[in-house]
């Protein structure tokens, strides 16, 4: 097993799990959103590295260009980044409203306030 040769998968897995840990374990809502962003970025990196071929160029026909990298993953990820930004923005908007209504952004304190 070529562990070093597959290092980009290791980066993907570590980033993914770091983000996931923050989502699950942190009670602070903003930290949860940071974790969510990290979680999504890990997937973006996975896509981008997938399309890369060593020595490959942009897919434009021309002198000496024989090996091409696939441009499609990058295009897909451009879209996914937009989705991710909108999600983060909406999430931060929600955090602002939660802060207005509850005066806190700590999950346990918020849940405590709604107990009858």
């Amino acid at each position: 097993m070529d562990i070093l040769g597959l290092y980009h998968y290791w980066i993907f897995a570590v980033l993914l799990m770091t983000g996931f840990f923050a989502i699950v374990a942190k009670p602070n809502l903003v930290k949860k959103l940071i974790g969510l962003s990290l979680f999504q970025s890990a997937v973006f990196l996975c896509y981008i590295t997938m399309g890369k071929i060593e020595g490959g160029t942009a897919p434009i026909m021309g002198e000496g260009a024989e090996l091409f990298s696939s441009p499609l993953p990058q295009v897909l990820i451009l879209t996914a980044i937009v989705v991710s930004i909108s999600t983060t923005a909406l999430g931060l908007g929600l955090v602002l409203r939660i802060k207005d209504e509850y005066g806190s952004i700590e999950e346990d304190e918020i849940q405590g306030q709604d107990q009858p």
Binding site: V83, T87, R97
Partner: protein, 525 residues
Amino acid sequence: MRSKGRISHDGKIRFARGEALLAPHLPHLPHLPMLQVLVPLLMAPFVLLLHPRGLAWAAATAASLMAFAIAVVLALTVVGDAPLTYQVGRWPAPYGIELRVDDFSALLLLVITGASSVTLLGGWQSLARALPSARQPYYFSAWLLALTGFVGIAVSADAFNIFVFMEVSSLASYVLIAGGPDRRALSAVFKYLIMGTVGATFYLVGIGLVYMMTGTLNLADMAVRISDVADTRPVLLAAGFITVGLALKAAIFPLHIWLPNAYAYAPHIATAFLAACATKVALYVLLRFDFVVLQHSASEHAVQFAGYLMPLAVLGILVGSGVAIFERDLKRLLAFSSVAQIGYMLLGASLVTIAGLNAAILHMFNHALAKGGLFLVVAAFCTVAASSQLEQIGGIARKMPWTFAAFVVCGLSLIGVPGTAGFLSKWYLVTAALDYGALGIALVGVILVSSLMAVVYIWRVVESACFAGEFGDDADSDSETAAVPPLLFIAVWIVALANLYFGLASALPIELAASAANLLMGNAP
């Protein structure tokens, strides 16, 4: 066979059997899959500009009704006939984005657009009370975007396109849920946002891995190309990521914890819309991916699918129904009942037979009718009652007997009493389970127990609405028409009558569901 009667080489459009009736009147028929998405999408920014009271609502309702009309025409066109495909920008299928309306998506389109139209139509007064008037145009715009996302998922034949539409619909649904006056909706929606995004990201990882192995994003093309690599580890990993990710979005049993609070604290009308279609759309993508793409190539996929999902379905049915019995809030009660009903759909699918899938798909349609109707009645109750707590609606049957009658009709449909729509899908499900051998008999037992539990929790509502509480003893007990907004009353009864109608004359959904099941199992209809 598939290409029969579509756009031929010279660019002329030839119509197949079913279209012959409609074609002369509808020159735009080939463009309807695209228009299905474009009508709500283009109306969404337009609605933002409509600030006078009620105009935004009227425009959104008109767009939704138009989408419903398109869905009806599409359903009549594809029923018993070849699917309708549309190549966006005339780029041919595996390279460009393809839209494809077959029997399964047509049935789902009917559910989505129908739910949106009826709830919007009846929802004006209820929403106007829940939202400050300055915020209404934004809310209706978000509603149309949610509708766009849902129908986009249904018509899309491209895995990545489905992801984008899924996020469009999810982001808009978060706004729909959090837009109301109840502050508890905010923390509920934050949880939904986190879990929903994790689910969508899992799905994204999955299609990335499949794309890495097959080099395509078109679902039909993927199903062909995956056969060479189906048993490799990345594809297995992708199947896991996609199934778990979509199970999060579909609120399948252990991943359902976002659902009850999100449904309970959303504005009543938004709950009715989302309960009728949000989770079903995710389940639709799950079935489409697992059956169309993976089922035929990956060895032992059927065993794994049944082995992992059937226990979850059974647990979901029992736990959802069990918790619903002890809930004191009517909306949370119905939300937990939804968790159980999703279990039924999943149970049908996890039998991995044509009969089972048929039952699952039919139940998507029938459950949307029953649950949409029940939540609309809750909205009607809440025009008078202070909240949806069972104590608060005590005696409301004397105040509004006709609205309550609609609740009973939809409730009977949810339980599965003969003569209502819910009976048919449960009958199909029991029949499919009985074909499954010894385990099937245990499954029938689960279905029966859960149906009895449904009788209990619906009865608790009936009991407190009829025999308890303070409503109706006062002098103005004849003021049902004054209490319930007339449009909402009409919408409630449209849905209640639909529950009865599709219980007796259900040719269209049954035929659509049957050929959708055949399609998923890979048999030509």
